[in-house]
């Protein structure tokens, strides 16, 4: 169900995905303008609801990740890749936290391959904050192999304290259908590792309602 940026209603959805893209052309700073979209007010309120036993699951992919950091649902910020180029590649990630609603069906430290494609994927965060999120195991995904963009500690994705909000730069939604995903051991474009992110949240939600 598409949500419209200018409306405040979430139309009763159970979870929200902020997809990638170049919101407002990324002419200012990734996510800096989009975070002021009226719909984000509701997202922030429901995702951060301290009193709720089941706060709204929110996933930010690529440009959706900095929208979440700008909205202060997640720590850190995104700057230009250290090599200053847009980079599109199949990227191996390690799932370091399988306790979030978006990663519960991964095995611990599972290696997954998903496409990565961005110009502003360089994750930065203050030294204290970095220490804190590492200590609290809030790094959800970490790049495996050479750091593709200069991100601090090779961080590809993080979560909030409660594990309902996750942001990551690579694109799990491009690894959900065989034939159109990244190359993997099975063959060309056969990778579907990203699917587990979506089955995880569905299963978490199903668990909630039963």
């Amino acid at each position: 169900m598409p949500l419209w940026h200018a409306g405040q209603s979430l139309h009763g959805v159970d979870a929200v995905v902020l997809p990638g893209g170049f919101s407002y052309g990324v002419y200012l700073r990734a996510g800096a303008i989009a975070r002021f979209a009226p719909v984000m007010e509701t997202v922030v309120k429901e995702a951060g609801a301290a009193a709720s036993s089941s706060p709204l699951p929110v996933l930010g992919i690529c440009n959706g990740f900095p929208i979440l950091t700008e909205a202060q649902l997640l720590p850190g910020s995104m700057i230009k890749n250290d090599h200053l180029k847009f980079l599109c590649k199949d990227q191996v990630l390690r799932v370091e936290n399988n306790q979030t609603v978006w990663t519960s069906q991964f095995t611990d430290n599972e290696l997954i391959t998903v496409p990565m494609k961005n110009q502003d994927g360089h994750y930065v965060v203050s030294a204290e904050e970095l220490e804190r999120i590492e200590a609290e195991s809030r790094v959800v995904f970490r790049y495996v192999g050479a750091n593709p963009n200069g991100s601090r500690h090779g961080i590809a994705g993080v979560t909030n304290e409660r594990g309902n909000v996750v942001g990551l730069m690579p694109h799990p939604e491009h690894a959900v259908e065989a034939g159109y995903g990244p190359d993997d051991a099975i063959g060309m474009r056969e990778g579907t590792d990203g699917l587990t992110i979506f089955t995880s949240v569905v299963s978490s939600l199903a668990g909630d309602t039963t």
Partner: protein, 808 residues
């Protein structure tokens, strides 16, 4: 969002939120039609605007008076080579003449509209087109290339289609020339910056380095779009009383043809100084415009639509009017401006990006406004459709243009430019590689041949281009089934059925230089072969014809020959040209580029899941490798000859009947699931194809050319490096060999088993009748040599230019 009212409400500043109101400028003279008629002897700057004297006189004849400054501006841009095709028209007619009914059976819209449209079946239609943005990309690489993508995408939108992918075809000077370091990184990030932001996957293209493109790089962009049949829209203004609306970005001073037009108006020093002739792109505006237009189409809110590209409002008003009932009335002061000091002539000529013009019925006006409001798009009502047969443009109520729109849009001059075969052509053709000094001491031993393969694959034109393509998003949209480096880009159109399209663009300028007629057919043949190699059934052709000056009879001959060759070739293959673009005057300091007739072929898949990748996959260990086609001694114009600095002789022979049979074999084999990999043989011949099939997924092979040399009567060097056409390599499971060879035998097409895929070897091993018996190349070593060519040249310079851009 703001709306500027119709005439008369302009003084009411309360109607605008963005301060778009302005007082009518009196800083320049508004020349009315009346004044022009009353003062026939005034000197006009027609020459500075690029018109020839006979053309200026023709305008006076048409109008029965001298043109106003605004009219002169309109005619000058619309009668330019770029817009009127005045030198090329007489030749391009062949694309419409050399066709059969059979060829056009799937054609829904042919040449002449913004882009051709082909029926894909199941209620789907596809539109695609290639366009050049060569000169702007040389002047300002980033913006020139970015707006090249923007322009071609708007052509696709204006047909009613949703753009689904782009491709780029690039030609640069010598890889080590300093200017290539200036141009290439900017062009690549411009294409990526615009296309990636629009959410359009880049599914392939070509990159070639050759010193003939120094100071004349070629940047040709292809866009493809899909639509349901009922969504097809044409650019015409029908329905008297319907409203004409301009929407999208505001009109600014960018992209104004020759700034010399300023000479036609009196102006003072307070005006902004000479503005850039290169447009500036804003992909975010374009993305919003795409979604906004698709909503307009979906709700059937527009009668006709035209994108604003070259010649801006001049083009849009005159084309819309002349394609419809023939009349339009426009108040030019209603155009929303970025720069309030623009003169009427400049407003008419501005090529500001991300603008569209549409015709809306009065009943749909409110609904149209609502869509604009939803997407936050600015618009202004300029006027309405009339049945007067005249395009009347007023400036604050005074008539500054009063013309028959057909005379502007369609009745431009047509030239039968003189042409003749260059005197040097015979000499060049006589200088074959074999007899030249460069063709002596060719590799003959195992060691020499192996070294030659590595040398070939690490030469700039055979090297890995992922440094470029990794800057393009190939995944966005989730429907990319194949992209670079496979032979064709493949996009799924219908997620339910798998219906989709495969596209390839090709051209070898060296071949075209040696023989433009054959060269154009070779470009067609390679694009056709690439599309069929992926498994798609070819349906339509688009071209982008890049040449030097048409005023040079020798260049004009190259052009005429290439068009004749392409039209004949399309007829032989039975696929129509549905549209294209001509780019002339690609020469600097009297030195022209090689004739570069880029040909794009679009093919259809019933199910893109059947597409064939171009390399051996790891699980394909032990599969049989077959070479299809015959190898002759055809080294002239080849990549190997280029390595030795030689260009002469005759290009490889074209056999379109053989290409057609080969295509049928590849399509059927893909459909029936017989083959698991296929790659066409082109630049670099068999050696390059073997290397590329192994480099694709890092899976090696063991082959022998002993039988090939014997069967075709060629030496090992020729077998490996000849560029004979109508050939392809395929890999298939052993269980399919019999079925496959039965098929090739039944069609009388040569097929030879060369060897097997060897996933464990980590190398390419080739045995043959040469000293040493066989040579092996480690894939790691080959990959290192092949993939380091571009990064070693451009990594540092890209970082420096991006750093500068970031600071700005």
């Amino acid at each position: 969002m703001s709306e500027q009212g119709t005439r008369g409400s302009r003084q009411d500043a309360s109607g605008s939120e963005h301060g778009s109101e302005r007082t009518v400028s009196t800083e320049f003279n508004i020349e009315t039609v009346e004044q022009a008629a009353a003062a026939p002897e005034v000197e006009q700057p027609w020459a500075e605007l690029g018109l020839k004297e006979n053309e200026y006189q023709r305008i006076r004849e048409i109008l029965g008076r001298r043109p106003t400054a605004a009219e002169l501006a309109m005619y000058s841009v619309m009668w330019s080579e770029h817009c009127s095709y005045k030198s090329s028209k007489v030749h391009l007619r062949q694309f419409g003449e050399k066709v059969t009914q059979e060829m056009n059976k799937d054609l829904m819209v042919g040449i002449g509209e913004n882009a051709g449209v082909t029926d894909l079946g199941e209620g789907w239609a596809v539109t695609f087109k290639i366009e050049s943005h060569n000169h702007p990309s040389y002047v300002e690489p980033y913006q020139g290339a970015a707006t090249g993508i923007g322009g071609i995408v708007r052509d696709i939108i204006s047909m009613g289609a949703r753009p689904v992918a782009v491709m780029d075809f690039l030609r640069f000077g010598d890889i080590d020339h300093p200017d290539t370091k200036r141009v290439l990184p900017g062009v690549v990030s411009g294409i990526g910056g615009y296309g990636n932001s629009l959410g359009l996957p880049n599914i392939g293209g070509e990159v070639v380095f050759d010193e003939v493109y120094q100071q004349n790089p070629l940047v040709n962009a292809l866009a493809v779009g899909v639509m349901r049949h009922e969504d097809l829209r044409l650019a015409n203004a029908s329905g008297v009383g319907n409203k004409v609306v301009l929407f999208g970005a505001r009109t600014g001073g960018d992209g104004i043809g020759g700034a010399s037009v300023l000479a036609s108006e009196s102006f003072d020093d307070a005006k902004p100084s000479k503005r850039p002739a290169v447009q500036v792109g804003d992909p975010f505006s374009e993305k919003v415009l795409i979604e906004c237009c698709l909503e307009l189409f979906g709700n059937e809110l527009v009668e006709g639509i035209q994108d604003l590209g070259a010649a801006g409002i001049s083009c849009a008003t005159s084309e819309l009017a002349s394609n419809g009932e023939g009349g339009m009335h426009v108040e030019l002061t209603n155009v929303l401006l970025r720069d309030p000091t623009l003169t009427p002539g400049e407003i008419l000529m501005s090529e500001s990006q991300e603008r569209m013009m549409a015709v809306v019925t009065p009943q749909n006006v409110e609904a149209f406004k609502a869509v604009m409001a939803k997407w936050g798009v600015e618009y202004s009502w300029l006027g309405e459709v009339t049945d007067t047969g005249r395009l009347i443009i007023e400036w604050d109520g005074e008539t500054i243009v009063d013309v028959d729109p057909r005379t502007v849009a369609h009745d431009g001059p047509v030239y039968e430019r003189p042409y003749h075969r260059p005197a040097w052509q015979d000499q060049v053709q006589a200088d074959s590689f074999r007899t030249s000094e460069a063709g002596q001491n060719l590799p003959t031993t195992a060691e020499e041949l192996g070294e030659a393969v590595v040398g070939l694959m690490s030469s700039p034109n055979m090297a890995d281009v992922s440094w470029i393509t990794d800057q393009y998003d190939r995944f966005v949209g989730g429907n990319t089934a194949l992209s670079q480096p496979d032979d064709a880009g493949v996009i799924r159109v219908d997620e339910e059925t798998g219906l989709g399209v495969g596209l390839a663009t090709d051209c070898n300028g060296r071949y075209a230089y040696l023989d433009p007629y054959t060269g154009a057919q070779l470009a067609l043949a390679e694009a056709y072969r690439n599309v069929t190699t992926s498994g798609a059934v070819p349906m339509a052709v688009s071209d982008c014809l890049n040449f030097g000056s048409p005023e040079d009879p020798e260049i004009m001959w190259q052009f005429a020959e290439a068009v004749r060759g392409l039209a004949d070739g399309c007829q032989a293959l039975g696929i129509p040209v549905t549209g294209g673009n001509v780019s002339l005057y690609n020469q600097t300091a009297g030195r022209a580029i090689h004739p570069t007739p880029v040909v794009g072929v679009m093919g259809k898949f019933d199910d893109v899941g059947r597409r064939t990748p171009s390399g051996f996959q790891r699980w394909a260990d032990g599969q049989a490798i077959y070479l299809l086609g015959t190898t002759g001694d055809e080294l002239d114009g080849s990549e190997f000859a280029r390595l030795r600095g030689h260009l002469g002789g005759r290009p490889p022979a074209v056999d379109l009947a053989a290409e057609k049979t080969l295509g049928e074999i590849l399509i059927n084999a893909s459909r029936d699931g017989m083959i698991d990999a296929a790659h066409d043989l082109s630049e670099g011949g068999l050696a390059a194809a073997l290397a590329e099939m192994s480099l694709r997924f890092g899976v090696g092979s063991r082959t022998s050319i002993v039988e090939l040399c014997e069967r075709d009567g060629v030496d090992p060097f020729t077998a490996l490096f000849s560029e004979s056409q109508a050939r392809a390599l395929v890999a298939l499971p052993r269980s399919e060999e019999l079925r496959f060879t039965d098929m090739t035998t039944a069609r009388g097409f040569p097929a030879l088993r060369l060897g097997v895929v060897d996933a464990e070897s980590g190398g390419i091993e080739v045995a043959g009748p040469f000293d040493g018996g066989s040579f092996g190349i480690g894939l790691d070593e080959l990959k290192q040599a092949w993939s380091s060519v571009l990064p070693s040249r451009f990594d540092a310079v890209q970082q420096a230019t991006e750093a500068v851009r970031t600071e700005q």
